[in-house]
Amino acid sequence: MLKDLFSKLNKKVNETNRNDGTFENSESIMTKCPNCKKILYSKELYKRLNVCTNCEHHLPITAPDRMEALMDEGTVKPILENITSANPLNFPNYEAKLNKDREKTGLNEAVICAEGTIDDTPAVVAIMDSRFRMGSMGSAVGEKLARTFEYATERRLPVIVFTASGGARMQEGIISLMQMAKVSVAIERHNQAGLLYIAYMTNPTTGGVSASFASVGDINLAERGALIGFAGRRVIEETIKEKLPDDFQTAEFLLKHGQLDEVVNRRDMKNYLGRILKLHSGV
């Protein structure tokens, strides 16, 4: 199974219930859609990439599951799996939290990276996983992403990054902020080589990740219903002393305000990206 390619650490992951109402395998037969409240067959839901059969609501999907759904079978070659977080500021409890999330997710960091093909077109893909430290970016995530772009630049390949992140990883302080710059210099080198970068924002993409690589694709896409924004809703409401509209900072809101190229249904993800990649395959 592809999941195992990214989980050297923990074998128990397949038995772990996700606390978002869905299940990794079909131990629980039914799942309740948090949006329309309809009770769905878990197996059916899983086959539809955790998109509700009734209302098209997008429930969370893990990074390995997304990788499997996106890439052509048998083509996935994980890269940069040996890079993991340290504790540069000796921040209290940080290592314990990392270990807990490694245990919980079977991943060793908040992003997984791989080379492979999508509908027969080669690409390098990085997928963040918000279950791991809320997908926050510290040195390891920054390094993996920057080197993903380096890897693609050397091989003249397009990059697709799926973002899912609460922002910078506070426990790494200013070093985490500088990862925004680090990934940016690598993106610019890839850009100057005339190569394609597609940024694909998923739920949630906020803070320092939103304010760096998530927003500077040649093409900026977002998944249906995703929360995307720089500042948190509560911070803004406290600052401007008014209530924000319900759809504020959703993918649809951003599309309306001209910040996105398109909002995509997860079930169309592979086909949609495959078409874009094909039209760039002469690059």
């Binding site: 993991t84 390094e143 902020l177």
Partner: protein, 319 residues
Amino acid sequence: MTMAFEFEKPIYELEDKIGELEKYAAKNKLDLTKEISFLEKKVNDKKDEVYSNLTPWQRVEIARYAKRPTTLEYIEEIFEDFIEFFGDRVHSDDAAIVGGIASYHGTPVTVIGHQRGRDTKGNIHRNFGMAHPDGYRKALRLMKQADKFNRPVICFIDTKGAYPGKAAEERGQSESIARNLVEMAGLKVPVISIVIGEGGSGGALALGVCNRLLMLENATYSVISPEGAASILFKDASLKEIAAESLKITAADLKSFGIADEVIMEPKGGAHNDREAVISSLDEAVKRHLDELQSMDGQTLMDDRYDKYMNIGVFTEQS
């Protein structure tokens, strides 16, 4: 001098005592020179003790101090013939960021910086130096202009952060910051950024992808404010002193991480105590770094920036 910070209290108490003694001596025609000079020595010792043991939080207070020199003061004193330009060509002119062209020791340069107000009225006009996308886009416009005319870019960083507002989000706060990061990476001219006050997160970094990062001694640079970190990480906003300590936000910390290239020393107690001195130290440092960078061609400058940022990070790599 008036007391600016609570931690200076012991110094001012001693100074008050000297004042009283002087008055008493004059009134009673007594010679208390010995006693007074003893106290003056004590004041100096106290100053050394307080100012050389500043906690990170105390530096935050100095960095935010209303009377601390701001971007426009440095521009006026260090550059000649500054011509300010306005507007992002998209939506508005954002007064939280200023920029334009000037002569620096005879070299034409582009200079950009966050601008705080000097009083309440000024702060309302400047939005406390917290920019909207319009500000970052104005900055980018001026940087691209600098690139075209082969002018070095000098940026002053002094902001709590990007403004968290509704309109800011609608106009793409994230994109405007993100765009600056990648575009600054690709500039073919020297870029020097100087943190003169508070370097607040992404809003600071939007003027900070540079060849050389300089920091004033009491300036801070952080991914989140100490107050914010205290409430998020420690669930208690009153723990801001501890958060300031844990986050490692001082100029000395950033120098030790290899993020800041140089720390520019400030007068005892902070830049506001001797403006001329800090202006001249800053000028000297900027000039020295610019001289070094000006011998590099465009590609070398880009590569230099690339290497600078690719080298920042602490992680484990198993072979």
